[in-house]
């Protein structure tokens, strides 16, 4: 990791300005880096700002949403400073995105072929060359009989096949970074597995990086090298996948891990996180997780903790990181 990162995001803020009384703070103070060839994950409950972060990276935010401040450096260049025209050329060729619902992300009235070839800016001869290229892409993403299926419309595909077609379409312009927004959520479990493997393989084959957004810790474990846990629009904890699952250092992460079956809590009762995530339009000054946190003390309601680096590469946002000893006990208690 001595190489400079492929993507570096610094202090990104994105708010929905619905009215002067109602400002939804979807993304606040988000900083992270993605290196070449790795998969970086965002996990959290729905509505915690993972997808909003993802869309901000491609500047696909529509009013009343607005990126207020921050830097998004791709290969050292701040894409927030690109002109609309330059941004249009940046999308797809450098960074591309796949969506949660393949059915709604594909144009219902265009053939699959046209939805792949229309982004192939680098091909001169659109007719034959583009067709061959598209067939090849479909074969790569595992669609049988690609020469035939390419002439069909999205509704003639099954959910899993639609997801594959969407991946093919997104990879058409050869991006260096693929954003995957809940790519498996809408699919059956068996197909989820296939799609996960497919994305992993394509990442290695095409030597690209992937940012994965999901609420599913199982998917994270299968795909990510490093990840960030998000809550109420902020990153709460960020580290490599192994550390996160074995030595989490944030109460929210413990709670998340405690709510799903893992090897660590085998035989124990699963504990759902009580309460609901806060309303992003109406955040209290303190730590957003305070109302649901088991270890909260009075300072948590008054002051928002800074995100701090505990060990190289392991970041966490909590007032009591220094009391690590007492926490550790709790964690181990959890894990036994």
């Amino acid at each position: 990791m001595s190489n400079p990162p492929l993507l570096e995001v610094k202090n990104l803020y994105m708010h929905y300005h619905i009215s002067d009384q109602e400002i939804v703070k979807a993304v606040s103070d988000v900083s992270f880096s993605v290196y070449e060839g790795e998969t970086f994950g965002f996990v959290g409950e729905s509505g915690c700002g993972k997808s909003a972060t993802c869309r901000s990276l491609l500047r696909l935010i529509k009013p009343p949403g607005e990126i207020l401040s921050g830097e998004i450096l791709y290969k050292g260049q701040d894409i927030l400073k690109l002109s609309p025209r330059a941004m249009q050329q940046f999308r797809g060729r450098q960074m591309s995105m796949i969506f949660q619902e393949p059915m709604t992300a594909l144009n219902p009235v265009m053939k699959i072929r046209d939805q792949i070839t229309d982004a192939l800016y680098f091909l001169k001869n659109r007719k034959t060359e583009a067709n061959e290229y598209a067939v090849d892409l479909l074969r790569r993403v595992g669609i049988p009989l690609p020469e035939e299926r390419i002439k069909e419309y999205p509704h003639q595909f099954s959910g899993g096949m639609q997801q594959r077609a969407m991946i093919a379409s997104a990879l058409g312009p050869k991006p260096g970074l693929l954003l995957a927004d809940e790519p498996t959520t809408a699919l059956d479990v068996t197909i989820q597995d296939q799609i996960i493997k497919l994305i992993n393989n394509l990442r290695d084959e095409l030597k690209m990086s992937v940012i994965l957004v999901t609420h599913d810790l199982g998917v994270v474990a299968q795909m990510c090298d490093r990840l960030a846990v998000m809550y109420a629009g902020r990153i709460m904890e960020m580290t490599d996948t192994v550390t996160l699952f074995s030595k989490p250092r944030h109460p929210y992460t413990y709670a998340l891990l405690g709510s799903i079956p893992t090897r660590a809590n085998r035989g124990k009762k699963l504990e759902p996180i009580t309460g609901a995530p806060p309303n992003l339009a109406n955040l209290d000054p303190g730590c957003p997780f305070k109302p649901r946190c088991r270890y909260a003390e009075s300072v948590c309601g008054e002051e928002l903790p800074e995100i701090r680096e505990l060990k190289p590469g392991h970041w966490s946002r909590c007032h009591f990181l220094d009391k690590a000893e007492s926490f550790q006990g709790v964690i181990e208690d959890y894990q036994q």
């Binding site: 869309r55 940046f90 797809g92 969506f99 144009n107 219902p108 379409s169």
Partner: protein, 312 residues
Amino acid sequence: MSHINYIVKRLLQILPVLLCVTILIFAMMRLIPGDPARIQLGENAREAAVQALRLKMGLDKPLVTQYFIFMKQLITLDLGTSLLYKIPVVKLISQRIGLTFSLAGVSMFFIILISFPLGYIAGMNKDKAADQTIRVISLAAISMPSFWLGILLMLFFGVHLRLLPVGGWGSTPLEHLKGLLLPGIASAMVTAALVMRNLRNSIVDINSLDYVDFARSKGLMDKTVKKNYIMRNALLSAVTLLSMRFAWLLGGSVVIETVFALPGIGKLLVDSIFARDYPVVQSVVFLLSFSVLVINLITDVLYAFLDPRIRL
């Protein structure tokens, strides 16, 4: 191949409706008070002629038989003679139907000319000043009687500016076209406003859908996204509405042709009602409803071609 099957299937579905339409028109003619044969021939007809027609229509036979005779006349286009104009009804209608369809065509032209750009602008600028302005204008257009608008246009362009004829149809194609402009605009307004709203709402909905974001995320040019992703989908529902409104335009010709003194089948219908020229009335009503059915058929087929999701 499947398209042909589909067309045949839709044709077969129309037949029972068409049958019911003829029953309704038959019932309508029998419901008019008085002797049906005398109604067909008029008050001043000679008794002998009325008697002859009575036999021909089978008025001494049961209603079912009378209906079959009526159907036979309809299919062989033996629709009788106009009492008012003293010429066969078929000939009378064929002289006038061109005007009514041209008028509907001119209206359609204006509808598309007005509604597509404005609906697009409103939809792409949701809740901004342009959208609000267009919304108010369309609201006013929907609430206005088209014949009043027609008279105002006539007043301004015909009487005041003397640019276009106050009414009438002229004799050369250019005069025909000039004569159709004002009535075309007048009858276009309501539909233009409706189509505009429809387009605006579709575009607003589509803009929030993932496939537009996905298209942008692939780095497509803005122009391509708007054309292939937004407009192509927004136009789908507009096409259905447009064709439904084509039928409406045919009905509206009744009033607008009277305002502008245009000799089309709408005015023919009104004149025939006043003159108690019932052979013409029944034929025009049948013709109009038949046209509606054919237009609906064409729309369905067109829609099936445009929207691949329709199962054929």
